[in-house]
Symmetry: C2
Subunit: 265 residues, 2 copies
Amino acid sequence: MSTRTEAVYGELRRELLDLSGQFEPGQRLKLLPLAERFDASLSVVREALTRLAEQGLVVATPQHGFSVREVSVSDLADLTRVRVQVESLALRQAIQNGDVAWEAAVVAAHHTLDRTPVEHATGGFNEGWAEAHRAFHQTLLAGCDSPRLEGMVTSLRDSAELYRRWYWALADDHARDIAGEHRRLRDCAVTRDPEPAVAVLTEHIERAPRELIAYAQHHGLDAAPPRKPATSLPPARSAAASIGGSPVSGLIDGGDEHGQVHPPL
Amino acid sequence: MSTRTEAVYGELRRELLDLSGQFEPGQRLKLLPLAERFDASLSVVREALTRLAEQGLVVATPQHGFSVREVSVSDLADLTRVRVQVESLALRQAIQNGDVAWEAAVVAAHHTLDRTPVEHATGGFNEGWAEAHRAFHQTLLAGCDSPRLEGMVTSLRDSAELYRRWYWALADDHARDIAGEHRRLRDCAVTRDPEPAVAVLTEHIERAPRELIAYAQHHGLDAAPPRKPATSLPPARSAAASIGGSPVSGLIDGGDEHGQVHPPL
DNA sequence: CAGTAGCATAATATCGAAATTTCTGATCCG
DNA sequence: CGGATCAGAAATTTCGATATTATGCTACTG
């Protein structure tokens, strides 16, 4: 990476999206400690956080600094609904629009994904799989030949990453055959069959949130996090670029407040 | 506004989106002059530009600073296509989901828009109309009750603003009955009729780009702008949040280079 | 004892300058 | 005459420090 800000931005982003990440939703991100940890000036940390805030991965509150975006059942439901719609759009367009080179790229990306183990030999989660997974889905939708649509899909998928760690940790969904889902997606792509492709992709996207929401509701984990309720704060600056919304109740960490939660899906 | 950065950010954003704006696409945005003009430090201008870059309104190139996003026929076509799809999605959901309060808000916003003149008495463009127009469309789609979807729509509409000034200036589309289009949108909303609503909205969105592209092609204004072709630059950092794409050819300013342009729509 | 004003501490926001990189233009060599 | 080289200038990036604002604790008052 060329500039120092880019490096800090990339590292912060990776840690934010990392399954084994150390950042809890709602956690404050103080500038000084981060600057020391990255051995950089306050300015570069600030710029990195500003960019992440504009993406919606962290929220910026004037005069209060930055904190990790909160998660909530209602936001997860909304996010999932939008992801399904937008990715379906892109997939339909890709199948209609893609050429043989696109088919080849999809097959190649699937092969890589298929041969990458989900877990390391040591037992830990394999970050390489996450990368291959990301690459497969990106390739699949790249055929839509619409940079803007691709950008939106990527942004939404990144937001979804914030929830994935709980899916893996809490909802042990052993019955799932992820490899099979990916195989079917690949097959639908090469046979150029839009409707089954969209159906498979929809189920692929919806499964994790559905399981997670079911777990959360069954265990009553949809209350507010155990932090003091916000006193009169200036409004967090809106991420006009991509993400509105204001999830206030935490998904995890059963507190004693009974937060209002929208019905899932 | 509370912090200085917010003020500069807001003002810069307004000028970038302003019809009578002084910023040309591709124009470099040097920090020192801007800092002097806003009577602020480099830091605040830098942060404002960083946020705008993440939104895709300006592009940031490492070690080279910021510049106004370029426009191109192919980007306009892509943007329009995506806008139609995403706004249609939101509108369908709003009509299905909205309640009486939503209908009332739509009627109210339409009334305000209807009674706001497009041009000032003096003849200049009325910024108040732009605001009312924006409010009407936002209200119309707010019924979808999906913060993420709303955010995406807003972001796309802002990007479209970058093109609107040429539509007004170049393609004098006198046959257009904008007020009628808005009236029909309002009527479809209160009668809860999805299909005609989507049809009207689609035409409403597509009209300006279509006219503008026709004008550009008829006048051969789709060549590269009269600036030196980019020498080997480090890649502009991708706006992962919202907007990909890399429009290189300018829409206006007939140069002598014959840029490759994708077919419109 | 509850509630509030005031003070000390900590964190953010802003600034101005130093350090690094890129651009410009003139000079020099083949 | 064309192309490479190399200072000087300009712009960006990064830094450390200062100013401003929020936070938490203590002491005081009703």
